[in-house]
Symmetry: C2
Subunit: 334 residues, 2 copies
């Protein structure tokens, strides 16, 4: 073992941010506790970790907006960096019943601001069962994360002017999108049912409700395979998890599991139309659709949790750039 002593940083580095500050070291330890907390919940609840998930993908690795995919020349084929491995996990779920994956999600977002990253850690879960069960798992994961950080990171929290007692208890409210729109229309009279919610809408809702699950979004503004509600076909059985400071921190839904319906939903989605415009075809989703054909795929649900947003919530940080151990946005290539 070395007996040399590390001296404090005396030179400015050419790195785009200080990798070696005490605050960053504290942040790394907090993230370690966050992941240990999340893993503790999923392991205790029978989720199987899926490793080596594809990060170089076809458009099946896209998450809503295929225009924000980073491109990779893959031996002459057009490939992309994954935004979500949801569709890959879905194929496994009927067999392993509860699965999770820790992936990096890539977004070609040119804005280098307080809300955008080009790479972030996504904690994805997928399981048999419905939206209610899914909301239970999300709540359990966030609570387990907060508990691990509170117990293991007393000194580290001080770098963020937090004490364990300050950590939010993560008791979630639950309201529907329709209820939210009604509430929001007091302050945003131009907001109409069917509009997607923006950061300022989310902020008002978390100020009023604290952490909140916003359920049953309008079908057209959500991912193609979110399952349509049986009673109200205008909406899907989805939820966005909104957290104070961070806004939307998880997208979650029941998945359409009937072959005919999921194929129709794909072909009527905005994403699909954009795919065709860009020269894509049905074949781009063939392996996913084929896995539903002539099979009785059980009801399953899943979510992707943006861990940087969870860190914002726990640490009370309005700027996502302050919440990540390594910062990757359009200005910070290292």
């Amino acid at each position: 073992m070395s007996r040399t002593v590390l001296m404090p940083i005396s030179q400015p580095t050419q790195a785009p941010y200080d990798l070696q500050s005490p605050r960053r070291m504290a942040l790394i330890r907090i993230w370690d506790a966050m992941f240990r907390g999340a893993r503790r919940y999923v392991e205790a609840n029978g989720f199987v970790g899926v490793h080596n998930m594809p990060e170089i993908v076809g458009v099946t690795g896209a998450c809503e907006n295929i225009d924000t995919l980073f491109k990779v020349d893959y031996f002459g084929k057009q490939a992309y960096l994954a935004q979500s491995d949801q569709l890959y996990l879905e194929l496994i779920t009927p067999y392993l019943k509860r699965v999770y994956a820790e992936i990096q999600s890539f977004r070609m977002e040119p804005e280098a601001d307080d809300r955008h990253l080009t790479q972030f850690a996504l904690f994805e879960i997928e399981h048999l069962g419905d939206l209610d069960e899914l909301i239970g798992h999300l709540t359990g994961i966030i609570q387990s994360i907060a508990a691990m950080v509170a117990s293991d990171c007393v000194a580290e929290l001080a770098h963020f002017d937090r004490q364990p007692a300050d950590l939010p208890a993560a008791v979630f409210q639950r309201i529907t999108y329709s209820e939210a729109v009604e509430i929001l229309q007091h302050d945003f009279p131009d907001l109409a049912w069917g509009d997607d919610l923006k950061a300022n809408h989310e902020r008002l809702l978390t100020q009023r409700f604290g952490p909140v699950f916003l359920t049953h979004y309008p079908l057209p503004i959500k991912f193609f395979n979110m399952r349509q509600n049986d009673e109200d076909p205008r909406v899907v059985n989805s939820t966005d998890m909104l957290l104070p400071f961070a806004g939307e921190s998880a997208g979650a839904a029941e998945r359409e599991h009937d072959y005919q319906r999921v194929a129709e939903r794909l072909r009527s989605s905005d994403m699909y139309h954009r795919l065709i415009e860009l020269g894509g075809t049905d074949a781009d989703f063939a392996w996913y659709l084929d896995a539903h054909k002539d099979k009785d795929v059980p009801l399953h649900s899943g979510a992707g949790i943006g861990m940087a947003r969870v860190a914002q919530y726990l640490l009370g940080l309005a700027d996502i750039r302050q919440a990540v151990p390594f910062l990757l946005n359009s200005e910070t290539l290292l």
Copy 2:
């Protein structure tokens, strides 16, 4: 909860391999146990998990051969997909003392054969201390992985004709590169001291020794910052971990921690000459070198463990394509 029953697969899919076979499900569970085993060792030994590590990087994310980097157009800048996050971890190690990271390593390898992948899970560790300590940690990690798989995956091992009792005990031999060359020269008379070892050389060594740490490679054929041996300047304080069925499964070494020496070593390395040929400059390594300037960086060591190769070893698989939950090589984009 759904009451539908999943039917067996009746249709061939257009996927390049069967994602839903019972053998693949067993493999996913085995990998889950492998990672839980590795994490159990590092957590019990005070390693801090570093998350959100950069996967889109400059050439500092390269691992020896910069010609095998996948390129990404990063908002007009040339970027790459990471092969190793070693240099990033090294900057943290003086502060957190023992760190680990689970990353995806990308290699633009056109060969789609039994030894090559384009993406694989790399379990990286970095810690204060020397090569002997590093070899101890690697041994501990492999033993912990094998123990977890043996205890948790009895049914899954049967898919690979293995029982827990078949799992190798992971008692490692340790020989120097020079000793290995002498041994190999009986069968490979053309092999000269200074040559890099190939798969057939590694195979002969693991057949004779079982799992083995091959230490003290010649300086010119190894990564630029592997620390030169004090007694024999021809070699570095490195080790390759060779595993039966898999061959080289971890590269590991003490790191040069003196600013002048590491800068000289970089500039005299083959990698650097290739970088200059390709239009790179000193500035590509500035943040890393700057973090050593005028500082008393303590001795540290680290390794990257290829988890697919560990799976080959545990399961007795000569073909790496059979050992990964998701297969990514030049022929299998999904």
